[in-house]
Amino acid sequence: MLYSLCSVDGVSGDERSASEVALSMLKNYTDDCSIDDFGNVTGHIVNTGNKPKLLLDAHIDRVGLIVSFIDDNGFIKVGAVGGPDRRVLAAQSVTIHGKEKIKGVVSVLPPHVKSGDGVPKIEELVIDTGYTKQELESRIELGDRITFDCEPTAMLGTRYCAGALDDRCGVASILVALEILKGKELAFDLDVSFTTQEETGERGAKIAVYDLDPDYLLEMDVSFAKTPDSDRAKCADMSKGVMIGIAPSLSRELSNSLISLAKTEKIPYQLEVMGGETGTNADTMSVNKSGAKACTLSIPLKFMHTPAEIIDTEDVISTAKLIAAFAKKGGAANG
């Protein structure tokens, strides 16, 4: 599932191919699902009309680049879509998603001649495809999206490396939860959304949530797993379970019921405490119409917004289990 989800492009604003993969997976759980004009995938899983509405959301877009100029020699200049990590782009292999898929390289001076220092700004990046301007113009156009190449790969144990795990692993956690919930009695009417343009300002979520109008929201996104150079206090541990969010912008009541559910169901979890908003779709979705009670369930991820992100699939499973436990038993919803 992760392989299929992470092998498609779907940079913000051009998510169609990723949305279609996610929609085909969602169809295993409901026929009442579709892709809207903005690329958002939405589906109604349970709709009795007399229970509170729970929405499960994850974003479907990924960070990348966008073609902004082709020079006379066929070298491509780009803009950033979302916040890709500039430090890691030198000599990176990329794919340009035009009329054809074109392979290229981010140019870099070799050590033999390199003298200057400093990480290039996005507007200084040059992409080399081996085509002339004329050859390129029949294949791609300005505005085409560019992804960083990374073959999804299993690592030691249950760890997994791919591009776009932010947030395709959140999408996966929802699909796994739906599998667990198949045929079960739920405490809610249940909707699902895989929303677009999160990386460029949670725009798809704002549009999708309007009609879905949930009472409760669980937002599945990724968060920072500890790396050797990061601040211990700002990171979770990989492989130690789902991160339950606590923040002024989230419902503490919901956070607390998820914590107690995780304890009683013996689901490994960690806390992620944030000082204001969460930087996820929960910020937008919880202030839709009259508002919704929201909580984030985050999957620890290393090397966010680089071509090769890492997660532990066990953390996706614990996230799915907690979603499923909450959907079945309620918690805050049924007191």
Binding site: G74, A91, Q92, P111, E124, E151
Partner: protein, 341 residues
């Protein structure tokens, strides 16, 4: 020539950094014809003598290096991350964010804290090599030690890709191209006896070539290499160094060698004669096995013929296929010319 690119593809798929060339050596040996006299010296150089139709006036040696740049593991942290140093010159900017692999199949990622957690200064300053670690997915030192030992080497992922109109992208084009040209040549009938040397440890100081040249004691040496091309947007004039598509690079000087003037001119003459495009470098940079060879055994007259290559010492070396063909043709013409000279 289709076969030449097939050889390049196979060679690039092998992993062999300096001092760890074994797999590449085995592969090269498997591609040599049975009519060659082949030996491996104490450092690991493959020295191949092949009889031609005639004994030449001068003994000609061709040389290309087997090794590629890579990484060697130096320490495993308590939480299972691997510290490493580079084997050969690799800028850290092309290392961070990369997927690397070990010969036993273990995959590692070089990464750091998320962009969201970097200070503005951290975002703008290139990473330092000694702060980077490789994450193989291990949670502890003990777990990591099951898969990786100190001294093990890691490699950029091989990804032989045809790019654009007649270009190639691969990690180890430097210098498996040179090796492939020699293998291709050794598999054909030759007019004169020749010695081909597949050297080791070029990337850490042209160490293999030094001893191989002593053993072979040729009258003339032809070094087949790849060389820095910077002909991409942002570099003008002499900073482009040399250009893809403009043929074989014949050098007059680099950091290791001031080349024999007569042979330099002969290179251009022969290129003209056979109708192969040819160019030189507009910047004195880089170096290759010529540095060690031309000062061996009391001095050996040496010429370097190189394929211009963008993004050297990165996972994405890029060349134009027509330049490989020109270089192979010029190498053959020079071998004939020097044998008879």
């Amino acid at each position: 020539m289709a076969e030449l690119f097939d050889i390049i593809k196979k060679l690039c798929n092998a992993d062999g950094t300096s001092g760890d060339e074994g797999d590449v050596t085995k592969l090269i040996l498997s591609m040599l014809p049975s009519d060659c006299d082949t030996k491996i010296d104490p450092l690991g150089n493959i020295i191949v003598n092949k009889k031609g139709a005639k004994t030449p006036k001068n003994k000609v040696m061709l040389a290309a290096h087997q090794d590629e740049v890579g990484f060697i593991m130096t320490y495993i942290t308590d939480d299972g991350n691997l510290k490493f140093t580079t084997v050969g010159g690799i800028n850290p900017e092309v290392v961070i964010g990369r997927q690397l692999h070990f010969k036993n199949g273990t995959v590692g990622i070089v990464g750091g804290k998320a962009i969201h957690q970097q200070s503005p200064k951290e975002r703008d300053n290139p990473v330092k090599l000694d702060t980077l670690t490789i994450d193989i997915g291990a949670s502890s030192k003990a777990e990591a030690e099951k898969y990786v030992s100190l001294g093990d080497c890691a490699y950029f992922r091989s990804d032989y890709t045809e790019l654009g109109n007649g270009y190639l992208r691969e990690k180890a084009l430097d210098d498996r191209i040179g090796c492939a040209i020699m293998i291709d040549m050794l598999n054909s009938e030759l007019p004169y006896d020749v010695t081909c040397v597949f050297t080791v440890q070029e990337e850490i100081g042209t160490r293999g070539a030094k001893v191989a040249a002593y053993t072979v004691k040729p009258d003339y040496a032809i070094v087949l290499e790849t060389t820095t091309a910077c002909d991409f947007a942002g570099n003008d004039g002499e900073k482009r160094v040399c250009e893809l598509g403009k043929g074989c690079v014949v050098s007059y000087m680099d950091r290791g060698t001031i080349y024999d003037r007569e042979l330099y001119h002969l290179g251009f003459e022969k290129a003209k004669e056979i109708g192969a495009p040819c160019q030189t470098k507009t910047l004195v940079a880089g170096g290759n096995d010529s540095g060690a060879i031309h000062t061996s055994v009391g001095g050996i007259r040496t010429v370097a013929l190189s394929v211009p290559c963008r993004y050297l010492h990165s996972p994405s070396c890029m060349i134009k296929k027509s330049d490989v063909t020109s270089t192979a043709r010029l190498a053959y013409a020079m071998y004939l010319a020097l044998a008879e000279k």
